[in-house]
Symmetry: C2
Subunit: 609 residues, 2 copies
Amino acid sequence: KLTPCSISSVKIKGFMNDYLETMLKVTIPSQYELLESTGRIDNFRIASGKKEGSFKGLVFNDSDVYKWLEAASYALLFTNDDDLKEKIDNTIKEVKDAQEDNGYLNTYFMFERKKERWTDLATKHELYCAGHLIQAAIAHKRVTGEDTLFDVAIKFADLIVDTFGPDKKRGAPGHPEIEMALVELYRETKNQKYLNLAKYFLEERGNGYASTYRFFNPEYYIDHKPFKELDEMTGHAVRMLYLCTGATDIYLETGDEEIFSTIERLWENLVTKKMYITGGAGSRYEGESFGEDYELPNRRAYTETCAAIASYMWNYRMFLVTGEGKYVDLMELVLYNGLLSGISIDGKHYFYVNPLEDRGKKRRQPWYECACCPPNISRTLTSFPGYIYTTSDEGVYINLYENSQANIIYKEKEVKITQETDYPWDGKIRIIVSTEVIDPFSLFLRIPSWANVFDITVDGEKLNKNLEKGFLKIFKPWKGPHEIILNLPMDIKFVESHPFVRENLDKVALKRGPMVYCIEKADNKEGDVWNYLIDLNEKIEPENYQINSKRVIKLKAKGYHEDIQNWEGRLYSQSGRVKGEKKKIDINLIPYFAWANREEGPMAVWIRK
Amino acid sequence: KLTPCSISSVKIKGFMNDYLETMLKVTIPSQYELLESTGRIDNFRIASGKKEGSFKGLVFNDSDVYKWLEAASYALLFTNDDDLKEKIDNTIKEVKDAQEDNGYLNTYFMFERKKERWTDLATKHELYCAGHLIQAAIAHKRVTGEDTLFDVAIKFADLIVDTFGPDKKRGAPGHPEIEMALVELYRETKNQKYLNLAKYFLEERGNGYASTYRFFNPEYYIDHKPFKELDEMTGHAVRMLYLCTGATDIYLETGDEEIFSTIERLWENLVTKKMYITGGAGSRYEGESFGEDYELPNRRAYTETCAAIASYMWNYRMFLVTGEGKYVDLMELVLYNGLLSGISIDGKHYFYVNPLEDRGKKRRQPWYECACCPPNISRTLTSFPGYIYTTSDEGVYINLYENSQANIIYKEKEVKITQETDYPWDGKIRIIVSTEVIDPFSLFLRIPSWANVFDITVDGEKLNKNLEKGFLKIFKPWKGPHEIILNLPMDIKFVESHPFVRENLDKVALKRGPMVYCIEKADNKEGDVWNYLIDLNEKIEPENYQINSKRVIKLKAKGYHEDIQNWEGRLYSQSGRVKGEKKKIDINLIPYFAWANREEGPMAVWIRK
């Protein structure tokens, strides 16, 4: 079992820091404006009686405010912006003032809807919103040391504890989320009752409390069977993935092996049968849900940004449980691809749905009526530094690579680790380690599974490259300073998928390191990228490139453009009858996360070979 | 403009007669039992006060009873079954007794819901049910000469005429259907007011009367713009196709050229960008709707059976307008493939959704809560003989081929036409024509577009083969008897699709004559049919075959089975790394309509080459 490091222990300066800067300068301020202009904060003012009117928007709109508060709290670690501090404090004041004396807090269930409280756990998101309140409050307390929001959360959490249980009101959340929050609250307070309630909510699933037949069947809510009997990722993708994440948290604190065998089984199903190459999950628009095994349509991929975030969170917890690098490999895959694709380079346009193939009509939007994804991205990217390192009794894990400086606390002493790197564009990482720890301990360097070969030296000496659980373990005294040079080969690879993903047959996708690439019209003026064929025998060159202001590595490949003019007006034809010339062309590929930042046009991840 | 022939003018004896026999013996009786056991007829009894209780089921359940009445009425043309006659009469009695004095008739809008009448045209299907009542009533009157149901329909139609109009209550049906019915009622009664109302309903679309934002946006209801401005098949597929069918009926009677240019534009969009090779339509589960151009997923094809039926009806009307064989080609394609796939060989199991690829989990059901398709199939198949011939001033059209005997009325005299054929399994058709008509007239034989070459003799003499609008026109005196021998080559063809249907790239489908084929586990014991590759250079042999009791022609092809065992546990892999042996095998293909009649197993229409 590993221990996370605090967000503040790492100062990032590389690829992910550009996103962090954008969060501070653009995203978090603009999201605040949107919370105001769309009435999300007003809902609290109305609930507290400060403002006339009635609740506006979707039932879970409170959670957008809480997610923003969580993100904004993390942001305070990186900025002394008084304006931001004031916005946070004011928002917390609005939240606090809307809370009832007994602790209840949900701006939808006020006035004439008071009597409906806790009557529709399946669709009304009361516990979901409470979960986000608790998470925001913990973040705010940890960052600022203040109890303003935390007291609010505790008061509501205590009401929920008093309300639900096997001998009290029975219930389970239609949208999992509060499980993670309650476990974190247990960690923060050491009060067992929060952990017990999280366990209760998990175990109460499958009994019909979390679902209704009104809109979807119980599988949508993952309430069709008891959690421990689940063997397939089904239903609403974000619900399912949040549930798994919460269950992993519960396992981390309880050690209930039946939970672990369940989540391992589910994880296996996800990654071997239901995950997109971008790390995205959720194949169907209807019910925003998982499909059958190998049902991974590209054009109609749903792959909600929140599902990618959930997968990132879940894999992190699986790593904390096991110390297995494969889970961090997936965090990395999701992060750089299916998660970052959810936000534009300018930091104020979002994808809710992340297709792998499009005619170019899908465009990022400045906001959504159902705006779960935008502030979810914010809290994920502002907390990113906390994911880079973890510790165990044995030593320090370097999970993710990013140009950065860190002071990791290991056995109550500092371990300073500097990473100098242009990762993820370049695989060379220079790591400087120094510490007051006298005794030898292990440094664990993740070797990503995409790195078939790699080079490493410690203070100039070559190392044995035996991996343990996907990590290279270096056990030695680290007083230092010591210099590690790790070279991960950023080879460009053609990837194919399991033949049951029948629409990917005879097509390949390109990866370079952790990055998945795509072809988009904006970089390919010749014909239509949907008619491109890639030549697997030609060498592919990485090149420096700019997409809007963003520096990326593009790939230059060779291939063919097939003229399909003769198909005009036809949909089916006898095989071989409709012919078009194939013209040799250069094909430019860009990282998938960066698509749809420029003019409209066709895009595809999977390319005909 | 062509004139339909009556259903009773043709006695069929071939492939389609097997279905007709099944309708009479199995389908129509069993559907009646289901209408009773599911409370659909009871709803009428409850409405008339004969029975206690409240309305049961979905708001449009009345329409299932009406569709059954229409089918059962046609059935009376082929059987003297007193029991069926009694069931029809009894059902009509229940319907009649539920009608209010003012003519209103809808069992959902009774008692406490009376006040909701005509308040939710978008979702409550009042006009849709009325349309099916009118169609059933016309069918019943034409077959039996009785007015029992017709009087009910007229009374309700008159109420609707009195209720709706530009100067009365404004409205348009959320689900088109009544347009067709009103035009047919105009044809039956010559009363212009019914045609006017149909026109009114068509022209009122786009003004928000047919839609609501509650569940779907106006495009779902095809109410997002005026009908004459539509340029793409969008929204709910059955709604869209019923609308086009009704609009074509209105054009047939009014000659409004703007309607015709609209439906021609929409038809072109359908057949060149949004139609499955099976003739099926509707790409998305969400909203049971059309997708974007070329969005034709195989596994998640929605292709509702009712949409296939609608396409069949629409193409027939387009043919009546134009005399173009291409529309009959499509009727034939839809009928033998995407429409017949909706019913099992045993005649009592149905597909609502008709995928083109499956792991075998989708099985035909004995009924559906939303049971629109089963009785829709019944009324289509029992009226089939009426689609085989049409007439015009110039002569008689042979639209469809089927072993049969007909007495066609042309210029008020009989033309006897016998077809001796094993069509669609064999392309040889011997046609005997004799008539009292002395003057020469034209016989038009459709030459299907799939028949690249064909042979024809009349009384032993070879004919000029120039086609006009897809028909071979033979102008001569037909007193006869004369013998025509038509040979349509039942060649087996590999078909490919437009490259923008990206999941069909590098795959082919097989057709023989009008039949689309598929591979299914039941006929292919070697490995998994999803891993089959077909060899385009090997000869393919047609063979007689039985699927359950049904005689079909299967195809025996050569190809390969690829062993994918090494993919176990992987979803993505570096290209070329995971290898499996390819083993030469025989591949058995069966007609698509016949799949899922035996044990569960994978199926695919599009096969890797």
